[in-house]
């Protein structure tokens, strides 16, 4: 008995001394495996990179057509500018009273509105100069969830928090290396669709990109409150604003020199952050910090004004939304002239409709299209020169700057996404590159899934 007690005592003392060095062990915890990067290799038919406006649609299209699809998104949710960017009023789906963009993108938008008990705009009433009347406000949270649900339903393998770092073309397949949180993955896919909006994957893959010296500004979307606009002394506010600009307290370009506009809009799509670029972590960090710093500076200024002492930030997006970064050097570059004259293309795969909408330091003056004009997007504008088994969809399509200012909008991106997804499907099935797919087969598939294709 004494032996047992001694042993027990020694054991306890041993444990105690061990406990002194490693106190938590005594509480039943265990050391887990040392952190290491999880490496794996995955094969798929189609890889879509970028889960934004175009990427979601491309992935759903490909999934519903029966292909294996992986969708990579470097953020936490799908939707891109529509959700994370906060530009949650996609358009324009109707031109001159007729629907010109439908399919999966329209399905998503229409269901989001319906689930929110909303009402669609009356597209039969001409919008005149107020084209935003035909844009469709959507509940961002619902859009995120419905997009995700539809992807999952289509069998899409979604991978958040990952970004591509390498893309090589070998034996008619793309080998894409991605990095994520604790993961390093090699994805072998037959067809690759770049929906990053920045032609990022195209760049990694070695294709030429285009970019102007000056790009359109980005916008941090937010909502202000805490004041009654109708009671404000606008003349006084404008004078005080002018003084603040002259003193260097505020940057004029950040709100287009329009303090009244800022107050009236309460922050809705009014800020301009010059040079905003979401291509890399570093450039996007700069854009985000600039957006938030600008808002904070203006908030402090507003709160010094009579009537605005209680100005508050009611809501703010987590990122500065981006309008323009890089575009591919594609097999065809859509020009401003092409767009405003609705040039016909034999390989037209989608319509687009929006005024020429170039934002600059002075603001934006949209140039509406002539009555009856419905521009067209050719397949070749989605294909980088010298590429195989590769497409882009979204604002980085091949276009000049002015055409791009209209093509970049969300409805057009959705149409491009569906077309790219369908092209990738047919190319994958037929073991070809998208350009080799008969255009009739492609347009038939797009229509089969509800998309609207240009009539020749």
């Amino acid at each position: 008995m004494i032996k047992l007690e001694r042993r027990a005592m020694l054991k306890t003392m041993g444990l105690a001394s061990l406990g002194l060095m490693t106190p938590n062990i005594l509480k039943g915890e265990e050391y887990s495996e040392q952190y290491k990067l999880h490496k794996k290799q995955i094969k798929t038919d189609i890889l879509v990179i970028g889960g934004g406006t175009a990427g979601v649609i491309a992935a759903i299209q490909a999934g519903r057509a029966g292909r294996k699809v992986i969708l990579i998104e470097n953020g936490s949710q799908l939707g891109g500018t529509t959700t994370t960017g906060g530009v949650n009023f996609p358009g324009i789906y109707f031109a001159w009273g007729k629907q010109i963009i439908g399919g999966i993108g329209w399905e998503l938008v229409q269901e989001t509105v319906a689930l929110n008990d909303g009402t669609l705009p009356d597209f039969s009433v001409p919008h005149g100069k107020q084209h935003w009347h035909h844009q469709v406000p959507v509940n961002k949270a619902l859009y995120v969830m419905l997009a995700e649900e539809k992807c999952i339903d289509a069998g899409v393998n979604i991978r958040f928090y990952e970004t591509p770092v390498q893309a090589d073309f070998k034996n008619n397949n793309w080998i894409v290396k991605t990095m994520g949180k604790g993961t390093s993955t090699e994805i072998i896919c037959n067809q690759l669709i770049d929906c990053t909006g920045n032609a990022y994957v195209a760049s990694i893959a070695g294709f030429d990109l285009l970019r102007e010296a000056e790009v359109q500004p980005g916008t941090l979307m937010f909502e202000l409150g805490g004041y009654d606009f109708e009671t404000l002394d606008l003349k006084m506010i404008q004078n005080r604003y002018q003084q603040a600009l002259e003193n260097g307290e505020l940057d004029k370009a950040e709100f287009r020199g329009d303090i009244v506009g800022l107050l009236r809009s309460k922050g809705d799509n009014i800020q301009h952050i010059a040079g905003a670029d979401s291509t890399t972590s570093e450039t996007h960090t700069v854009a985000n910090i600039k957006g938030r710093t600008s808002l904070l500076n203006y908030l402090r200024f507003l709160r010094t004004l009579p009537g605005c002492e209680n100005t508050k930030v009611i809501d703010m997006q987590t990122e500065t939304a981006i309008r323009e970064t890089y575009r591919i050097d594609g097999l065809y570059k859509i020009t401003h002239e092409d767009y405003i004259t609705a040039k016909k293309f034999d390989d037209g795969i989608a319509y687009s409709y929006y005024p020429i909408d170039l934002h600059d330091e002075h603001g934006v003056v949209p140039h509406q299209l002539e009555e009856g004009t419905i521009p067209m997007i050719p397949l070749r504008a989605l294909i980088p020169k010298k590429s195989r088994n590769f497409l882009v969809a979204g604002r980085s399509l091949s276009s000049d700057r002015l055409a791009n200012s209209a093509l970049r909008v969300q409805a057009s991106c959705m149409a491009m996404g569906q077309a790219a997804g369908a092209a990738a499907v047919l190319a994958s099935i037929n073991k070809k590159t998208p350009l080799e797919i008969p255009i009739g087969d492609l347009t038939r598939m797009i229509e089969e899934y509800g998309g609207i294709v240009p009539r020749q």
Partner: protein, 383 residues
Amino acid sequence: MVKKETFYIILLLIGVLLSAFKGDQKIQYFQSSTISLEPDNTKAFSINFKDSIPSDTLFQIRSQEGIPISYYRKVNTGICFDNQCRLLDIKLFWNITGRYLGFELPEKEFLSKAEHEPFEEKEYERLHEILAHSESPLGKFAYNQLMVATVPNFAGVDAVSSATSPDVLQHVVEGAVYTTYMLWHTVYGNTQDEVKQLTLSLLTPELVLQILESPDPSDRMWVVNEIPEEMEIINELRDKLLQLIDQDNYSLAERSINAFHSIDLTSEPLQLLLLEKFYQSDYSLQKLIINKLNEAPELSCEVTLNLAFNIENFSGDILSRILDIFQKHNVSDSKVLQKVAVLLDRENVYVSKKVYNFLKHTRSHDKVVEQELLMYEKKRATQ
């Protein structure tokens, strides 16, 4: 032969007579109304409009049968300059759907601009055009944005000659910014809402049908959107709504589909008519129609069989919705399930998987279906 002097005297007399005649005429501008019946009586409603106009009465003009034809409100407010004020006295009219109809001034009355200069005919026309524009950007301007300089003494006075803000100028009658602004906001303010509510309180299927014949598309859109769930969709109204489901006007078609409620879908003829529309429509409308059929408390056998026999023609989300409908309505008819089972053989994995999941859910004991399921499972196992 008339002497020259006599000729000029006659001309002068004609001119005087004409101006006198014009001065006695009421100045009025109107658009076409929905109901073209003869006005018979007027009913007055006392309403708290919560605006700055003293008059709190809304007048409803009715036909002999009691059908509302239009509404009007008397707008009286002051226009002042250098402490001399003149009363603005005008009647604003609304169509029964709330659409702006027109305005009327009392005899010998006229509208005036800055310095009390009377409106010319083109300015009345311009005002009428502005008031008819429901989406005018004037709606987005706040009161304090109308002038470049702040008005020192009197708010809301056109006679004070400050400069109109250039942004506002193109949306108002020049020199009458406050008049235009005030009248526009009165047309599209609380009064309009009250007009709509009063009409809705009298809405019957017959009145809906009359409004659907309106020459103005916005009237048709409005009433289709407002058909209450409890209203009986009589056959004539049903047929009219179905007629409006036309891809040439998506918005009206969408609202028309929406006008049918679950209770209406207990009617098999309606289900079949919707199905007929389904086959005539483009993809966007097909989605809406199939979703509407899903709301039916019970799906007609004929509709079920028809969808099943055509199921091979569908893809993507429409196919998925049809399977959802079958599942929701516990469709177990062998003929239907056998037709669906054919899709198990599709190359498209998305489709075959959906069909497989649906058929497994039905727990069908049909031999043909069971055989198809078995073959599918074997095929999947080898892939």
